[in-house]
């Protein structure tokens, strides 16, 4: 159906100007090549205090076998967080059984499909873009998915001794040279780390190491230390690329939501 495809592409192109004012606004103050394209290989910017500036709009990049959903690149780890872990995750027996049961039920209880918050790890892998805002003392991540945010305190405060369990947990970060090291505790029990249903418990401590090796690249190494669900800590790598000349749209999961009623186990 080559003609049909061409017609479809033409139609999409014609539709674009309707929202072009929002999405095609050139990002101010980014390095550009002589032809005007963003220079994503330029050095990472720095804030007034000399630290790397992680601010910007970011999208996940799949490691090797990326697929696209619409215009969103999908990291296969979003589906299966153990994708790049040789030998799989060191699951405790009950956690392995739980994952098996969730898979057998077609992952129909995925909090994502019920418009529940995803927690920080799955949010790093979500295909929709996110914007990092780095201020002195606070780093905020604004997510397009459900127009939600997460705060990471960098003002030197200590982690709470007895945090209120929450989807995002409680995060503090500090710089180790050019790496922002973020520690998070206080997760609500029952978080899913991927679409399959890999579990996280309220005993988890998560360490994220954020690096911006160039203007266009963000690397996040995530270590999960959750002795209730895993026999030892494990680490994955999430890569994101800078999305220039665009912005976050308002995505509200519960808006006109008609999917949930159709979720079945088989």
């Amino acid at each position: 159906m080559p003609i049909g495809r061409i017609t479809l592409v033409v139609t999409l192109t014609l539709c674009a100007p309707a929202w072009a004012q929002w999405l095609n606004y050139p990002t101010d103050g980014i390095p550009r090549l002589p032809d005007g394209k963003p220079n994503l290989n330029a050095p990472a910017p720095r804030t007034a205090d000399g630290k790397p500036d992680l601010s910007g709009l970011w999208e996940p990049v799949g490691p090797s076998s990326s697929s696209f959903v619409g215009n969103s690149e999908r990291d296969p780890q979003f589906q299966d967080i153990a994708k790049e872990i040789k030998g799989g995750l060191p699951l405790q027996p009950w956690a392995a059984d739980l994952l098996k049961a969730r898979l057998a039920a077609n992952s129909k209880d995925d909090p994502d499909s019920r418009c529940q918050p995803l927690g920080p790890i799955k949010m790093h892998l979500h295909p929709y873009p996110r914007r990092i805002i780095q201020t002195p003392g606070l780093l905020v991540i604004l997510f397009e998915r459900d127009t939600a945010y997460r705060q990471i305190f960098t003002d030197g405060r200590a982690l709470p001794l007895d945090p209120q369990p929450s989807f995002n947990g409680y995060s503090t970060g500090k710089w180790e040279r050019d790496t922002l090291v973020v520690e998070t505790i206080g997760f609500k029990d029952g978080t899913w780390l991927d679409v399959r249903g890999t579990p996280l418990t309220d005993a988890a401590r998560v360490t994220e190491r954020f690096r911006r090796p160039s203007f266009g690249k963000l690397e996040i190494a995530i270590t999960v230390d959750d002795p209730k669900a895993y026999t030892k800590p494990w680490t994955i790598q999430v890569n994101q690329s800078f999305a220039a000349d665009t912005d976050l749209l308002e995505f509200v999961c519960l808006e006109n939501e008609r999917d949930r009623a159709h979720l079945t186990e088989k």
């Binding site: 309707a18 929202w19 004012q21 929002w22 606004y25 101010d28 103050g29 019920r114 418009c115 529940q116 918050p117 805002i133 201020t135 003392g137 606070l138 905020v140 604004l142 459900d146 127009t147 939600a148 945010y149 705060q151 003002d155 405060r157 709470p160 001794l161 007895d162 945090p163 209120q164 929450s166 989807f167 995002n168 409680y170 912005d247 976050l248 749209l249 308002e250 509200v252 519960l254 808006e255």
Partner: protein, 269 residues
């Protein structure tokens, strides 16, 4: 005796989350006894503009000192949450169809209020909702983080123009600029079906919202909101929303859709 016991249990329980919410806000002016000095001058950013940054709440409705718990405890709403035009002589200048709609929504006890169904509150109601909001002021963007549903609103301050054909959304599309010490925000692209208050005051897609935000001193923010929506109102109207700084605390994660069991009971009457 029972209520005394509940109060005692409440206070005893407080330290469980005290590490989260009792963290002293760094860098705020304080009195000799350590309390925040909310009458100090408004702070300024490096570029000389007033800084609106901080955690804010809508001035709560008056409440007798011995009735704070009944008024909502630390979750007290302001009068404009119920009726955005509560201080306007004669109330809001509704078009006849809008007046009928508000009457019907009020008679239905607000059961179709989007926020009762965990939908977004919309840009204006982010200011009047009882949970706190935090303003972050960057050179190119002002961000409002709302405790209610852990959601945010962006106001672009990088000099861009308003879009000609915005995609309708709950927050609309907002650009802001400084006029002296006033931060002036223009918003278009607001989505039809948004309620401006608990009464159900409507807004239509042709609406334009203007907010003039002024930090009169360290502890006080005044927001003059003008709604120009000729489809729903006979003339533009302006209300002042008074926000108070909330020091030494932090936003909690409040997700409306978490363990939500209320909507099934919203039946009107």
């Amino acid at each position: 005796m029972t209520s005394w016991k509940i109060a005692a249990a409440w206070w005893a329980a407080a330290p469980l989350f005290a590490q989260w919410i009792n963290y002293p806000s760094p860098g705020i002016p304080r009195l000799p006894d350590g309390r925040p000095n909310l009458s100090a001058p408004a702070p300024r950013t490096a570029d000389g503009h007033p800084s609106l940054a901080g955690i804010w709440q809508l001035e709560p409705a008056p409440c007798a000192p011995d009735a704070i718990a009944a008024c909502g405890g630390d979750y007290r709403g302001g009068r404009e949450f119920g009726n955005i035009g509560v201080r306007l002589p004669g109330g809001l200048p509704y078009q006849p169809w809008a007046a009928d709609l508000v009457k019907k929504r009020t008679a239905d006890l607000g059961k179709d209020d989007p926020v009762a169904w965990c939908k977004p509150a919309g840009a204006l109601r982010l200011w009047t909702y009882p949970p706190y909001r935090k303003i972050l002021q960057m050179p190119d963007v002002m961000v409002i983080l709302s405790e209610r549903d852990v959601t945010y609103r962006q106001i672009f301050t990088d000099g861009r123009l308003l879009p000609k054909a915005p995609s309708p959304s709950w927050n609309g599309y907002s650009v802001g600029k400084w006029q002296g010490n006033d931060f002036v925000v223009e918003t278009v692209g607001l989505r039809e079906g948004t309620w401006l208050d608990r009464n159900g005051s409507p807004i239509t897609e042709g609406a334009k919202m203007t907010e003039k935000v002024r930090r009169t001193n360290f502890g006080n923010l005044e927001i003059d909101v003008t709604i120009d929506d000729p489809k729903a109102y006979t003339k533009p109207w302006t209300v002042r929303l008074h926000q108070l700084l909330v020091p030494d605390t932090e936003l909690l994660d409040y997700y409306c859709n978490d363990n939500e069991k209320d909507s099934a009971h919203a039946i009107g009457k």
